[in-house]
C-alpha cells in the first residue's frame, strides 16, 4: 500500500467516552477532511497520528503509513508533516534558515541547500525572502513559509490542523488553494482537520466526522 495513510479501526476513548472511531485510507495525492465542532475529537485523532496523544487517552487499532505501522513510534520517527493553526516559525532564524531547518541533511553542500531554498521560495512567490526576519512577514506569507518548511522535510503524509482559521477572510481562499495545490503536487496523502465547511469544500476529498460518519457538504 505504497503512499497511503491507512487508519485501521482507530478508536480512541477517554474514560468511557468514545472520541474517535475511524477506518479509512487516504491514497497518495488524495485528501480527506475530518470535520466537527471543537471538542469533538478532531484534534485527538490528529494527535494519535502525530504521536502526541496524552497518556490519559486509550487507543486501539493501527495507523499505517506506506504500509509501515507507525501507531507506537515516536513523533520524530513517523515522517508525518504537520501544519498548526499558527505558522510557528522560529523567530531566531531567518526565513531561509527556517526552511534550511526543514530541509533534510541528504541535500548537502551549502550551494545545493541555498539553491533548493531559493527555488522553494520562488515557487511560492517569495523570491528573495531568504534573509528576511520572519516577524516582518504578513500572515499569508508566514503560512506559505510554514508549509514550505513542512514539505521540504519530505514527509510521507501531510496533516493540516485548522491551518486557515487564523487568516483574514480575503487571504484564506488564496492560501487554501496554495496549500492544496502543493499537497497534491507532493503526491502524499493529506488529512485536514477543520470546523469550517469552506475548508472541507476546498480540500475536495471525502468529509467525515471524528466517529467516521460521512458528512454531506
Amino acid at each position: 500500500m505504497s503512499g497511503t495513510l491507512d487508519l485501521q479501526d482507530l478508536r480512541i476513548t477517554l474514560g468511557d467516552r468514545r472520541l474517535v472511531d475511524l477506518s479509512l485510507a487516504i491514497p497518495a495525492g488524495g485528501t480527506l477532511t475530518i470535520m466537527g465542532p471543537s471538542g469533538a475529537g478532531k484534534s485527538t485523532a490528529l494527535a494519535a497520528i502525530t504521536g502526541t496523544l496524552a497518556p490519559a487517552f486509550r487507543l486501539s487499532g493501527r495507523i499505517l503509513l506506506n504500509g509501515r505501522d507507525i501507531t507506537h513510534l515516536p513523533t520524530r520517527a513517523r515522517s508525518v508533516g504537520l501544519m498548526f493553526q499558527d505558522p510557528v516559525l522560529f523567530p531566531h532564524l531567518s526565513v531561509g534558515q527556517n526552511l534550511a531547518f526543514g530541509l533534510p541533511a541528504h541535500v548537502c553542500g551549502q550551494t545545493a541547500r541555498t539553491a533548493r531554498i531559493a527555488a522553494a521560495l520562488a515557487s511560492a512567490g517569495l523570491d528573495g525572502f531568504a534573509n528576511r526576519d520572519p516577524a516582518t512577514l504578513s500572515g499569508g506569507q508566514k503560512a506559505r513559509v510554514a508549509l514550505l518548511r513542512t514539505l521540504l522535510a519530505e514527509p510521507c503524509a501531510l496533516l493540516l490542523d485548522e491551518p486557515f482559521s487564523r487568516l483574514d477572510t480575503d487571504l484564506r481562499d488564496q492560501i487554501r488553494r496554495f496549500v492544496f495545490d502543493r499537497a497534491a503536487a507532493a503526491g502524499i496523502p493529506t488529512l485536514l482537520v477543520t470546523h469550517d465547511a469552506d475548508d472541507a469544500r476546498a480540500a475536495g476529498g471525502p468529509v467525515v466526522d471524528p466517529l467516521g460518519k460521512p458528512l454531506p457538504l
Binding site: P91, A100, F101, P104, A105
Partner: protein
C-alpha cells in the same frame, strides 16, 4: 484601570524599592573602593605582594566559570531530555526542597559525605578499600577547587531549573518542540535548535547571577574550597577579620580586584554566548536530525540529576544522623548507638540562635513582602510596565558580588554606629531577600484574573477594598510561598550577617560555618539540621495553611 483615587504614596513604592536595591549596592561599592585607593596604590601593592594572589584569583575564575558552565549544561540537558515526561515530574518535585537548603548546610552535608572519613569512605571500608583509618587524601579542600565546584553545582542546578521552568511557557516551548519533532528532529537537537535561543534570553540574568555568586562565594569556599591559598573572596573575608587597618585596605583592594574579575568573566561569558549562538544556528541549518544523541543524553541527564540530588539528600541525611550519633568510629557505616546528648547539651544556645535567626528572617521577609506587594499593586493600578532596566536593577544585588560591596557597607554601618545591630543585619538581608520574594510573587500576582477587580469595581468597591478583600486573600498561597522563599534566603545569608553583624550577631549559618573548621561533627550536624528545618517549616506551612483555609473552596486549591 488607572485610578485617580489611589493614594499618592503608592506611586512612590516602585522607585523607593529600586532605590533600596541600588543605593546600598552603589554606596557599598564606593565604600569599598575608597579605602582601596586611600594611600594611592599602596593597598594594591600589598595585595600584589601576596604570593597567593595569582592562584586565588584563578581559583575564583575557574571554580565560578566551571560551576556555572556545568550547572547550565546539566539544566539544559535535563530539560531537553525529559521535558514533558514522567521522569521530569519527579525531578520537578525535588527542586523546591533542594533550593530551600542553605548553601552552608549543603556544603557541610557534601563535606560529611565525601571527606576521607565521610560516609562514602565508611560505606566502602574496610571491605572494598581495606582502610581501617581515614586515608590521608585531600578530597575536601582540594587545591583545584573540584569539591567546591561540585558543591556549587548541586545548589545552582535546582535554581537554574526553577528559572527555566518559569520561562518555558512564555516562549511557546511546547509547540516549538512539537514542530521540531514532526520535522523529524531528535529531542536534544530539537530543543537546542528551536527552543534554547529564546529560553537562554530569559535565563541570561539568572546565569550571570550564578556566575557572579560562584566566583565569589565565601561560606561554601570556607567549607569545601582550597585553603593554601584560598579563593580570593575567602582571603578578603580573612583580611577583613584582622584588626589592623592596613589589612582592611588590602581587603578593600582585593575586593575591587574581585569585582573587576567578575565583570571580566561576565564580559567573557557574553562573548561566548554570541559565538555559541552563531555556532548553534550554523549547525541547525545543515538539516541533520541528530536522533542518535537522544539516548546517551537521556542517560547522562538521569545520572546528573541522580548525582546532584542524591549527594545533597545523602549529605543532609548524614548531617542529621551525626547530630544524634553516639559512638561512631571509622569505618563503621552507622553509629553504634543514637543519643540526644548533643541536642540536649546545646539546647539553650541552639534555641537562642534559632530565635535570632528567625527574627531577622521574619523582619527582612515582611519588609520584602510589603515592598513587593506595593510595587505590584502600583504597577496594576497605574498601568505601569516594568522596564528591562528596572528588572536589571532588581537583579543588581544578585549580580554584584557580595564581597565587593558588603565591606563598604560595613564601613558605613561602623561609621553610623549600626554594626552589630540585629536590625541592621535584617536590613542588609532585605537587599538579598527582596529580589527573590518579588520574583516569586510577581508571576501569580500579574496572572490574577482582572475581571474580578472589574466586577467588584462595578459593585462599588474601592481599589483598597479590592486589594485587601479580594486580591490579597485570593493570592494567599503565593504570598505564603514567597514568604517561605524569603525566609530560606535570609536563613542562608552568611556574609551580610558576618560583616554587618560585626561578628556579634550569630545566626545558625554563621555559627555552622564557624564550627566547620573544628571537629565537632555532632554540633555541626545540629546547626545544619536547624538551618534546613527553618526553610522547610516555611514551605510546609505555605502548603498547609491555604489547604486548611480553602478546604471548602474547590477553585482555590492548587493556586500556588
Amino acid at each position: 484601570m488607572t485610578d485617580a483615587a489611589a493614594p499618592g504614596w503608592l506611586r512612590l513604592v516602585p522607585p523607593l524599592t529600586l532605590a533600596l536595591m541600588a543605593l546600598p549596592v552603589a554606596a557599598g561599592l564606593a565604600g569599598t573602593a575608597l579605602p582601596a585607593f586611600r594611600d594611592g596604590a599602596a593597598a594594591f601593592a600589598t595585595l600584589a605582594a601576596w604570593p597567593g594572589l595569582p592562584r586565588g584569583a584563578l581559583l575564583s575564575l575557574g571554580t565560578g566559570i566551571a560551576a556555572t558552565l556545568l550547572s547550565l549544561t546539566l539544566t539544559l540537558l535535563i530539560l531537553a531530555a525529559f521535558a514533558g515526561t514522567p521522569t521530569f515530574a519527579r525531578i520537578r518535585r525535588l527542586i523546591a526542597p533542594l533550593l530551600s537548603v542553605p548553601h552552608a548546610a549543603a556544603a557541610l552535608g557534601l563535606a560529611f559525605l565525601i571527606a576521607p572519613s565521610g560516609w562514602i569512605a565508611r560505606a566502602l571500608s574496610p571491605w572494598a578499600t581495606g582502610w581501617q583509618a581515614p586515608p590521608d587524601l585531600l578530597i575536601l579542600n582540594d587545591p583545584w577547587g573540584v569539591s567546591l565546584t561540585l558543591g556549587l553545582v548541586a545548589k545552582e542546578l535546582p535554581f537554574l531549573l526553577l528559572m527555566a521552568l518559569a520561562a518555558l511557557p512564555q516562549i511557546d516551548a511546547d509547540r516549538r518542540l512539537a514542530t521540531a519533532a514532526t520535522l523529524g528532529y531528535g529531542r536534544i537537537a530539537g530543543f537546542a535548535f528551536t527552543t534554547l535561543p529564546a529560553l537562554y534570553a530569559q535565563l541570561r540574568l539568572p546565569v550571570y547571577a550564578v556566575l557572579a555568586y560562584g566566583m565569589t562565594v565565601v561560606d561554601m569556599a570556607m567549607i569545601l574550597g582550597p585553603t593554601l591559598p584560598p579563593t580570593l573572596s575567602t582571603q578578603i573575608v580573612l583580611w577583613m577579620g584582622e584588626a589592623s587597618l592596613g589589612q582592611r585596605d588590602t581587603a578593600a583592594a582585593a575586593a575591587v580586584l574581585q569585582f573587576a574579575l567578575v565583570l571580566a568573566a561576565i564580559a567573557l561569558w557574553r562573548l561566548a554566548e554570541v559565538a555559541g549562538r552563531r555556532l548553534l544556528i550554523s549547525i541547525a541549518v545543515r538539516g541533520h536530525r541528530h536522533c542518535a544523541l537522544d539516548r546517551p543524553a537521556a542517560g547522562a541527564a538521569r545520572l546528573a540529576a541522580a548525582i546532584t540530588g542524591g549527594s545533597l539528600i545523602l549529605g543532609l541525611a548524614g548531617l542529621a544522623l551525626w547530630s544524634v550519633a553516639g559512638l561512631w568510629q571509622f569505618p563503621d557505616a552507622l553509629p553504634e548507638n543514637l543519643s540526644l546528648r548533643t541536642w540536649a547539651g546545646a539546647a539553650p544556645v541552639l534555641s537562642e540562635t534559632m530565635a535570632l535567626t528567625l527574627a531577622i528572617a521574619a523582619a527582612a521577609t515582611l519588609a520584602a513582602l510589603a515592598l513587593s506587594l506595593g510595587c505590584l499593586e502600583a504597577e496594576a493600578r497605574f498601568n505601569l510596565t516594568p522596564t528591562h532596566r528596572a528588572l536589571t536593577l532588581l537583579y543588581l544585588p544578585l549580580l554584584v558580588p557580595q564581597v565587593a560591596f558588603l565591606p563598604g557597607l560595613q564601613g558605613l554601618a561602623l561609621a553610623a554606629g549600626l554594626d552589630g545591630d540585629a536590625l541592621a543585619v535584617a536590613a542588609a538581608h532585605l537587599i538579598f531577600v527582596l529580589p527573590y520574594v518579588f520574583l516569586s510573587l510577581a508571576g501569580p500576582f500579574r496572572a490574577w484574573d482582572r475581571r474580578i477587580a472589574i466586577s467588584a469595581a462595578t459593585l462599588g468597591a474601592s481599589p483598597a477594598a479590592i486589594f485587601w478583600r479580594l486580591r490579597l486573600p485570593m493570592l494567599l498561597a503565593p504570598v505564603l510561598t514567597a514568604s517561605a522563599v524569603g525566609i530560606a534566603v535570609s536563613v542562608g545569608q552568611y556574609l551580610p550577617t558576618l560583616l554587618i553583624g560585626g561578628g556579634r550577631v550569630e545566626t545558625l549559618t554563621t555559627e555552622a560555618v564557624a564550627l566547620s573548621s573544628g571537629g565537632n561533627r555532632r554540633l555541626i550536624g545540629a546547626y545544619a539540621v536547624l538551618q534546613m528545618v527553618l526553610p522547610a517549616l516555611g514551605f510546609g506551612l505555605a502548603l498547609l495553611i491555604p489547604g486548611q483555609i480553602w478546604r471548602n473552596r474547590r477553585d482555590m486549591r492548587g493556586v500556588a
